[in-house]
Symmetry: C2
Subunit: 526 residues, 2 copies
């Protein structure tokens, strides 16, 4: 494999030198209609990726293809799913896709077939969840459980929480909500305390989730919860389970109902497909629903193998993002789902993307001379339109946008006003925004001028259901992976979180001087 | 008054030419301790603004003072609170501070003393809320109400919602939670449908909030809710109230329990202090608690009059932000509250800041040649540490940070592990992060190098209670105002939201061609 920096490639030079697309012109009139019709790629589960409103044309697509080829992006993906040590910093394989399906060769570690390992955990979780749902497993009073509470932070929280919120209402109306799920993450005691107040503890299962089994926040909240369980007159052993790696101090705790395993080859931010998402989502919705999410992701993973950028949405989305970051110099991307159910999906993508690609050295530890991962943020539309879109339309900083929309609502409960339903209004707004951002509008009054040239893409699906959610999740994971390959960075470690931990421990040991002592005093820590 | 562009000032030239502070050096050792001790400003209600970890020194502070003087920032504030037509684009006064107190002269419009108008609305709301709480006002079955639901979007949603969430747990443990509040905002039918499913409609009051009375999302959701009220066998007239301007179509609806008024001199994103926040928060917590929020804000508003940048946190925070935006070129700011209760506060600030200062023309409609408002985003710590802080520490893009921390939790419910409480751990983490970001760390392994030089400030308070929340709200409102004055833009209009509305209406009228028709078809709108 040829691992080289972006600025060592010939295609990057071509990309920089090439004329830029005038988006206002390109998206106007017949040219716009043609782009919308042609610049789209089918994704998994009926999703479509439309990049008509991105600053690309056929020639630029050719250069992006050359860049994909030169950086061997799909070959590197193949290397990854065949068990290559792609996480070089930590000398580890990267196997989250293997939770969803076998994309290539069998992958072994210490003689264990890893696909079998993941499936075994899925089956163990399914069995556990089924027992909870059918009443084989009951609490100390012989009563059924009705709530599951995930205790985890970062990757053990954001992804599973976003997926739960994404399907909660769909599950409610389709009869698939088996247990309500809640989440405790922050070390702020007000978080655990407030969540616990609303939990029916005697009928709750708490899942402690930490890959290392040493995450400070999670261990603290574990104790918080244990105290609450005891205070409610219940037995800890009837109310707790763990998701962790087999070698962690949390593994196989005899005090717990059960323990389910992930491994070192799945990073926290990629762990929604593993037992980290599997346990809470299987308990909440049933194992069949979790399996449908995985199937959707697996379908997208397969499409990501295609080396043709015009047919591989994950790959092209990645490359257009690099073009925007390194040629246009745009420092961020907004993720704007027109679906209230995806309200926390941007927060998950924020971790996924920024923790993976917020790096200043390449995979060999050499400092880079170009920009890497962008800042990611977002809120659902139409809410965002009434909030920060003013800056996106008329501010001095161009922010590329990633829209998501669905043709049908999840609940099917709607109202018609002025001749259209809410769902039609929602979709009309996202269509209007894409065109408004791209084409802009002139006016005699400069305060009413929209300069346009704001690039966006949209992923459109029929409805947000387990399969489409899985495909969406995999799309962004694969996009981030391809961008990491293009930038020649390791998207799978996170050394940047260490220094803060070290200094926090110094404060907690009351071993401070200088500024650290000053802040500790200001905050009256001791 | 002398309204001039930033790049027409002498002090901006001085600022650009001045040596930049090496933050890693400045924040190390004794120098760091000294900065933390000295670079702080008392704010309202015992809050402290600490800017030790910003890239300033005494000389730069002198230049920022000169810039404040040259741009007449506190004089312009005086002009604003004395009723000047500061919102020039819409020829309107800007009076949100007047909801909280009389800062200057009496302000009249059409013969009405505006302070008296706002107080009258507060009193009418207080009377209404008291009647609801003490059972004088009952539902059609003679039962007490227990829930209030705000129907609004943008400024009628984000601010009130953020404030409600900020105090909900505090109110719960201090016996001040009179009614639970919920919010419906998005035109996505899944939003209203899902919220309504969890509302006890026979005991709920729905407040329809729209200044203009014409907001599409809000009118749509009003009908959604009316249908639900009828479907629950209840009378609309016993379950709905309005907050709007006196001239709007929603005003004085005889079908409603009551209507409360704001006016055109308060922009949506500044309306939390008006009836827009007043009605829902007075019903949820009682009018005394809402009054305490306003008192906190009023205290901060008074401090913002001080022309000395070393004594006025709102002013200095604004100027440092301009320095970072226009000299360092940082395109965004992260807001990172170490308080789970402030989980939605960044979303409110995102609207407040980006909608106010995301402008490309000055207040006279002339195109600007410099950057204006930054992108704002954020999540609570310590959650963010396990998510996007990797990029903040080691990414290629520097992002200035605004931390918020409190010495005490709201609920006082805590657990001690490894010798420290969760609250201590929370505070230790924010102290550690500030120092880690500023000073960085060298290492033989480049992947473990932290370059430092990441600027941040922190606002520290004793506890998040109504007064401190009000002071915090006013701080950011005033900061945004001072930045707008510095950039010479109108922070109080939002022309940038219009084009999307026009195009969405074309789609809904099925009157499309070109790209707009293409997207409409892709989304199967008709």
């Amino acid at each position: 494999m040829n691992w080289k920096n972006l600025d060592a490639t010939e295609s990057f030079e071509l990309l920089k030198a090439h004329d830029r697309v005038d988006l206002s012109t390109a998206m106007a009139g017949e040219s716009g209609a043609k782009r919308v019709a042609e610049y789209r790629i089918p994704m998994g589960c009926g999703l479509v990726y439309s990049y008509a409103a991105k600053q690309v044309d056929d020639e630029i697509l050719d250069i992006l293809q050359a860049l994909a080829d030169e950086q061997q992006l799909t070959q590197k993906y193949e290397e990854l799913y065949n068990g290559g040590i792609v996480n070089t910093g930590e000398s580890r394989m990267v196997l989250h896709q293997l939770c969803r399906g076998q994309l290539g060769k069998d992958v072994f570690h210490n003689g264990v077939n890893k696909r079998e390992f993941f499936v075994t955990q899925q089956n163990r979780i399914a069995e556990f969840a089924n027992k909870v749902h059918n009443g084989e497993l009951l609490n100390e009073k012989g009563e059924k459980y009705n709530t599951v509470v995930q205790i985890g932070i970062g990757g053990s929280d954001l992804g599973p929480r976003a997926l739960y919120i994404a399907l909660e209402n769909w599950a409610r109306v389709t009869g698939n909500l088996k247990m309500e799920a809640k989440f405790i993450s922050n070390v702020d005691p007000d978080d655990a305390s407030a969540v616990l107040e609303k939990v029916d503890i005697p009928h709750a299962i708490f899942i402690v989730v930490s890959k290392s089994g040493t995450t400070l926040e999670t261990l603290t909240n574990e104790t918080f919860v244990k105290n609450a369980i005891k205070a409610a007159g219940c037995e800890v052993s009837k109310h707790m389970a763990a998701v962790t790696s087999e070698t962690s101090p949390l593994a196989g705790n005899p005090e717990y109902l059960d323990s389910f395993y992930m491994d070192d080859f799945i990073g926290g931010r990629y762990s929604s497909s593993s037992a980290v998402g599997g346990a809470v989502l299987s308990l909440a919705f049933g194992p069949e629903i979790f399996a449908r999410i995985l199937n959707g992701a697996a379908e997208e993973d397969k499409l990501a193998k295609n080396p043709n950028v015009r047919e591989n949405a994950d790959l092209l989305d990645a490359l257009i993002g690099v073009y925007e970051r390194n040629v246009f110099g745009y420092p961020m991307t907004a993720v704007l789902p027109y679906s209230q159910a995806l309200s926390r999906f941007p927060a998950h993508l924020q971790q996924l993307d920024m923790e993976s690609n917020g790096k200043h050295v390449n995979r060999f530890g050499e400092k880079l001379n170009y920009q890497t991962g962008p800042i990611i943020y977002g809120e659902p539309g139409t809410n965002g339109q009434h909030s920060f879109y003013q800056l996106l339309h008329q501010g001095t900083q161009i922010v590329p946008m990633q829209f998501v929309g669905f043709r049908k609502s999840q609940r099917g409960d709607d109202v018609e006003i002025q001749g259209t339903t809410s769902q039609q209004k929602l979709s009309a707004n996202v269509a209007a925004q894409i065109v408004a951002f791209a084409t802009g509008k002139n006016d005699e009054n400069p305060n009413k001028v929209f300069e346009g040239q704001r690039p966006s893409s949209i992923i459109v699906g029929d409805q947000l259901i387990p399969e489409t959610l899985g495909a969406l999740l995999a799309h962004f994971e694969n996009k981030v992976m391809f961008q990491g390959f293009t930038w020649n960075i390791n998207s799978f470690d996170q050394e940047g979180v260490q220094l803060g931990k070290v200094l926090a421990n110094k404060v907690l040991a009351n071993d401070t001087d200088g500024a650290l002592a000053g802040y500790s005093e200001m905050l009256s820590i001791f």
